[in-house]
Amino acid sequence: MNILELHHLKKYFATQKAVDDISFDIQQGSIFGLLGPNGAGKTTLLRMITGIFYPDEGEVILDGKKFDPLNDIIKIGYMPEERGLYKKMKIGEQAIYLAQLKGLSRSVAVEKIKFWFQRLEMQSWWNKKVEDLSKGMSQKLQFVITVLHEPKLIILDEPFSGLDPVNANLIKDEIYGLAQRGSTIIFSTHRMEQVEEICDHIVLVNLGKKILDGSVQQVKNEFKQNVFSIQLSGIPSAISNEAFEIVDEKANKLTVKIKEGFTSNNVLKYFIDQQINVEGFNEILPSLNDIFISLVEGTKATTRSFQKV
């Protein structure tokens, strides 16, 4: 079942087509990666999903119904990239206030905040002020505030920036936990290694358009270049075969690219015929990073210029 469907969303600003006809679906319980270079339109897209902006055209379907910003806000938890808290306000009070703004009653808010503070070992923070916290600590607090009402849809924009590895893992585990309990997570970032690790499904946007949509595995398979790595007991002096060419050679490890019309078996057969032991053989899939760079480079995305709409 799809928790969120976007149909032909468009948002034009005075000098830019920030989002230009983007559609995709997100399955309930999945961890979804929204990728794109700076200025690709990710934040605008997220702001339309959270009801901060109205789309110029197209519609957002949340949970099977047309998204209604006024009443559906409780179903969404949004941690924007530009985030912060009232510096002079006590942390406990602040968390209660923000939870109440989401629509929780005071007593429910207190209960949930206590639960989360205990879970992330933050009980001693209650009467401290935000200005007393380090950047990483306030990031953690921000995460708790985003998810404490257990929304169906959690949107995290660069959630790990400023977190040390220990705390990043802690948050990562919480994200997995939330997904298991049925929340759907949209994860916006340009840190590809995190996406590869966490996300089930990704969409890549560039210049306001969707240019890639699929599961991580699908995308990788789509962009694979038939490159394999072979670990051998010894390397023969001269290798020549019509099935493959050698890309790289390191100690007893070869990286080969299989030519069109041949399969991995042709490669293996060649070495077996030569009485060389094959100790390891695996396909090298491109990293998302490589795919990202190859897709975005050359599109002038890094210096997206202003234009008349």
């Binding site: 959270t50 969404i76 924007p80 985030r83 009232y86």
Partner: protein
């Protein structure tokens, strides 16, 4: 609506619980009164005592110049400048005055006072006054005029003003109306500035600390803005009420706590010309005049224009706050178009309070950007004759329309501005934000 209340509540509580709020709210009037009391205390109780020897050779004063507790004139005979100087140096007197026998009371009356040290301004004035009073007395005697004759000659005629409608229009009442109009107009002027700027700073704080988007994802930008405006408005109202209570309370309490000081204040008041006028008002019928002023109406109008003016301007201040970034200097330049009409308002008000029916005053009291300040100056002169009812109602209706207009405009700018980081927009761009489809 519920969320606006939540936001207003937070805005109110965080401000009221601050130490600076307590200090400004409670200490300010105390300080004010303290200074006032000190000033009077110092001006009244000058420690300088003068004992002045008068060698009245011409005998024009007939051996008598009235002194007081600080200044004493002692008449001496058979002394010369030389011997007097010596006595001053010895410390017997603080100074001396010699009136040579060539002096004529009617024209050339030269009195030279020689003192040990330079005389302070207050004491100098007092010495002059005493000597002049004595001279006047002697001259009157010379003309055979008694002081009762003089008093009856100087007595003012009783001139009464009234309007065609038969309403008495006494000068005292005009004075009171003037004071009420001026003070209430000025208070609203201050309210617009203080609390308008407070709204602006609050919006800027939210933008700078990057919490705006976190909140905007839960509530509409309009709700956030209105919550802020209502919350700070409530702070302002409360602060004003506390100030008024404190001022009134201190006014009554001060004489009880410091009876000595109060007596001095009273005596200093008596010397003061305007206070003397107030005294006569008290005697002739202050009660009468005050009852001629429609206080419930004035208080109602004050609260109406206080709230209306605040809502109108604070929305504009909020929209400036949302447009600027970290740099407070940006706010300064964007604020100019908002502060200008407030200042114009106070300028028109000072004119309107004197001529409440002039064309400028009528225009100022109707135009919603000026009316909160100007209308108060006119209303105190009376609704019905000076301010026709239709003008009051039109002014109120225009003010309501005005603040709906500015709030609508500000909300549009605010929802764009609060999420914009980077360069400061111009008013032209903000105007565009307001009128583009969202």
């Amino acid at each position: 609506m519920n969320k606006i209340l939540l936001i207003a509540r937070r805005e109110f509580l965080t401000r009221v619980q601050k130490k600076t709020f307590l200090i400004t709210t409670i200490l300010l009037p105390l300080l004010f009164f303290g200074f006032y009391a000190l000033m009077i205390y110092f001006s009244v109780s000058s420690d300088e005592k003068y004992n002045i020897a008068v060698a009245d050779v011409a005998n024009i004063f007939k051996g008598k110049i009235e002194g007081d507790e600080n200044i004493n004139f002692q008449f001496v005979k058979n002394e010369t400048a030389q011997t007097l100087k010596q006595q001053v140096e010895n410390g017997k007197y603080n100074g001396y005055a010699i009136i040579p026998d060539t002096t004529n009371i009617l024209n050339q009356t030269n009195v030279s006072v020689v003192t040990e040290k330079s005389v302070g301004l207050m004491s100098r004035g007092k010495i002059e006054d005493k000597i002049n009073a004595a001279i006047e007395q002697q001259r009157l005697l010379k003309f055979n005029i008694s002081s009762t004759q003089l008093d009856s000659a100087k007595k003012e005629g009783d001139i009464q003003f009234s309007t065609i409608g038969g309403k008495s229009d006494s000068g005292e009442q005009a004075d009171i109306s003037y004071a009420i109009g001026y003070v209430s107009g000025f208070l609203i002027y201050i309210v617009l500035f203080i609390y308008g700027a407070m709204v602006m700073r609050g919006v800027m704080e939210e933008k700078v600390s990057r919490i705006a988007e976190v909140i905007i994802s839960s509530v509409k930008p309009f709700q956030l803005m209105m919550g802020k405006i209502f919350g700070i408005g409530a702070v302002g109202l409360m602060q004003f009420i506390i100030w008024i209570i404190l001022m009134v309370g201190l006014n009554f309490l001060l004489p009880v706590i410091f009876p000595h000081l109060a007596a001095q204040m009273h005596s200093s008041n008596a010397q003061n010309q305007t206070m003397q006028a107030a005294e006569t008002i008290k005697n002739t019928g202050l009660i009468n005049n005050i009852s001629g002023i429609n206080f419930p109406l004035i208080i109602f109008c004050f609260i109406f224009y206080f709230i209306g003016g605040y809502l109108l301007y604070s929305a504009l201040f909020a929209c400036v706050g949302s447009a600027v970034n970290e740099d407070p200097q940006d706010a300064q330049s964007l604020m100019l178009p908002i502060t200008m009409p407030i200042i114009f308002g106070i300028v028109i008000m000072t004119k309107a309070v004197n001529e409440p029916t002039s064309g400028l005053a009528v225009f100022g009291s109707l135009f919603p950007l000026f009316s909160p300040i100007v209308m108060m100056a006119r209303i105190s002169h009376g609704v019905g004759d000076v301010v026709p009812l239709w003008q009051l109602l039109t002014s109120m209706a225009l003010l309501i329309l005005g603040f709906i207009g500015t709030t609508w405009f500000a909300a549009k700018v605010y929802r764009t501005g609060i999420l914009m980081y980077g360069k400061k927009p111009s008013w032209k761009e903000m105007w565009k934000w307001a009128f583009r489809r969202s």
